[in-house]
């Protein structure tokens, strides 16, 4: 079983980056995984130039959902929304870098799907990021 979760995933799970809340977020979005009841709350500050000035998340969940939220929030901090719009679901899965069974896809995609909803009225997500499977 040891090869399923690589060390980086476990490290993100134990010490998630950007875990917490923002004092004055511009966007607050909750997401949940109906499969297991896991929840995430994503907070974003957007600066005047349309960049993600700050980002934080809270919630609890499995190693895959927590690690993917940790990595995704790292990735979008400081990024212009135009760049955020290019982040696809497959990219998020690839970044986790472990085998994700179909049953666990929802865990892996909880953070990116919550992000997509959070920014739905601010940016146009690129075509290839349209919700496909899961």
């Amino acid at each position: 079983m040891d090869d399923l979760y690589r060390a980086e995933i476990l490290e993100h799970y134990r010490h998630p980056h950007n875990f917490g809340t923002l004092e004055h977020p511009d966007v607050v979005q909750e997401g949940s995984n109906p499969l297991c009841g896991d929840r995430i709350t994503l907070m974003l500050s957007i600066d005047d130039e349309g960049r993600v000035a700050d980002v934080a998340f809270t919630g609890r969940g499995c190693a895959i959902s927590q690690a993917s939220a940790s990595m995704l929030t790292d990735r979008i901090r400081g990024l212009p929304l135009a760049e955020v719009a290019k982040i696809g679901r497959q990219e998020v899965i690839d970044e986790i870098g472990i085998e994700i069974s179909p049953a666990r896809l929802k865990c892996a995609l909880l953070s990116v799907d919550t992000l997509r909803r959070a920014l739905a009225d601010r940016i146009a997500w690129q075509a290839e990021t349209e919700e496909a499977s899961a």
Partner: protein
């Protein structure tokens, strides 16, 4: 939610970051290692590992020998057989059931109650014989009281949509419990919304049992119906059905019992229980998926309006009017799942030959073994549900500190140990437990102490991995 407030899901907060001591073995300190049960009541740590040989000596079944009857154990998972610990979701199927389904599909394939030829008569006979077997199996006085449905969910929906619609009105009360599976909650919510009726819930105590004083208090509101589970699929609690039925009847209520987790695992006699409706799934009782049963007292079935309209459920149809068939066929519109019903008949024969008293004793011994093995072998484990194996069926739900049940299940799967992780269709129960999700191991006639040993060994490896 307020800015700055930390949201950690319903119920109690679980620490997200837990620093484990180093080393490959998850050696936790004493305080962490105390196993907890119920809603957090500490249970004394088991001082010694349970004795598997002792369990085998007392087991009235020989599960290792029985495995020869279940073809799935022939499948190779990297040199191992599956340690199947998800029987509460669906049971494995013995060869006799597979053969019965195949016989219908290969030797007497025909619709039932229609054809005037030999194969059709054989199919009808097999289908109706299955009904008779099921009636005997659950102590139903009359085979006409057995309605074949797809599963327990459909059975409960049938009652809500027919008896419920006709008999529950504005301001009436239906009493349910915190233990219920979503299938014994949502149909009543739909009915209550449609009729402006009230739903009330019997709470559970910290040991996972229904609070009987609260039940009595709710009965004083004169509910129309009381609906509760015989055995909790979430934490294994066996409810005192007969006593509760008596008191509900004294209060003028009818009683529906969800027997999905009881019929496969213990002797059930609906006449002795005294209830009015009893629902269960055949596929959890060694039968094929698509097989389920509603039992109800005949006079109730006769008074109920039909559920679905169509073929089979009619006696005479005119363009603007129809007279309905007799029970139970009035409730079996359309071609039923004939193969599944016939398969369920074979499953019932198999269980009858084993003896349901012996099945219950086998699972009681295994449950006691599992509770001890987990408490002794898995540092810091939280065990949910009644402490005593005598009071619970073969369902053991638990949480590990700092490892999510989904991760537990994914990792155990690598060792061909299959458990359920999630809320097991009992979200309100999980809110009460203060857990968004739990891990659940559940047993069947083919389950062995070795399965449980593999579970415990796997959990230790999971803990070691997360402690790294």
């Amino acid at each position: 939610m307020a800015i700055g407030e930390q949201r950690t899901g319903p119920g109690k907060a679980t620490p997200l970051i837990v620093v484990q001591p180093g080393g490959p073995e998850p050696v936790a300190d004493c305080e962490v290692a105390v196993p907890r049960t119920g809603a957090g009541t500490p249970l004394a740590p088991a001082t010694s590992a349970p004795d598997a040989a002792e369990v085998r000596r007392h087991d009235p079944l020989d599960p290792v020998a029985l495995r020869a009857d279940f073809p799935v154990f022939e499948r190779d998972f990297d040199g191992r057989t599956v340690a199947y610990l998800d029987s509460a979701a669906t049971s494995l199927k013995p060869r006799v059931v597979v053969d019965a389904v195949n016989a219908y599909n290969t030797r007497f394939t025909a619709n039932v109650h229609r054809g005037i030829y030999q194969m059709a008569e054989e199919a009808t006979a097999a289908y109706e014989t299955a009904r008779e077997k099921v009636a005997r199996f659950i102590g139903a006085p009359d085979r006409h009281e057995i309605v074949f449905v797809r599963n327990a969910t459909e059975a409960i929906n049938l009652v809500a949509a027919t008896w419920g619609r006709r008999n529950v009105g504005a301001g009436d009360t239906v009493v349910l419990t915190e233990l219920e599976h979503h299938s014994n909650l949502v149909p009543w919510q739909i009915l209550a919304q449609e009729k402006d009726a009230d739903l009330e819930f019997v709470p559970i105590d910290d040991d996972g049992r229904l609070v009987q004083a609260s039940f009595d208090a709710l009965l004083r509101t004169r509910p129309k119906l009381v609906a509760f589970t015989h055995v909790s699929n979430g934490i294994g609690t066996i409810n005192p059905v007969r006593e509760m039925v008596e008191r509900a009847h004294d209060a003028g209520a009818l009683v529906l019992v969800d027997g999905a987790q009881a019929v496969p695992h213990m002797p059930v006699n609906v006449a002795e229980l005294g209830c009015d409706f009893y629902a269960f799934s055949g596929h959890k009782a060694l039968g094929p998926t698509g097989s389920g049963v509603l039992w109800a007292r005949r006079e109730l079935l006769e008074a109920m309006p039909p559920y679905m309209g169509g073929g089979e459920m009619i006696r005479e149809v005119h363009l603007r009017s129809t007279t309905y068939n007799d029970v139970p066929w009035k409730f079996e519109a359309g071609t039923p799942d004939i193969a599944a019903a016939i398969g369920l008949g074979a499953a019932v024969d198999y269980l009858t030959a084993l003896g349901m008293d012996r099945v219950r004793e086998h699972e009681r011994l295994l449950t006691a073994y599992a509770l001890e093995a987990l408490a002794h072998g898995v540092p810091g484990v939280t065990l949910h549900g009644p402490r005593a194996a005598d009071d619970r069926a073969g369902v053991v739900s638990f949480n590990l500190p700092a490892v999510h049940p989904h991760d537990v299940a994914s990792l155990l799967d690598r060792d061909a140990v299959t458990i359920r992780a999630g809320h097991h269709c009992t979200q309100p129960l999980h809110e009460r437990l203060g857990e968004a999700a739990t891990a659940r191991a559940s047993f069947g006639v083919y389950s062995t102490t070795d399965d449980i040993d593999r579970l415990v060994a796997g959990l230790r490896r999971v803990q070691a991995l997360f402690a790294r």
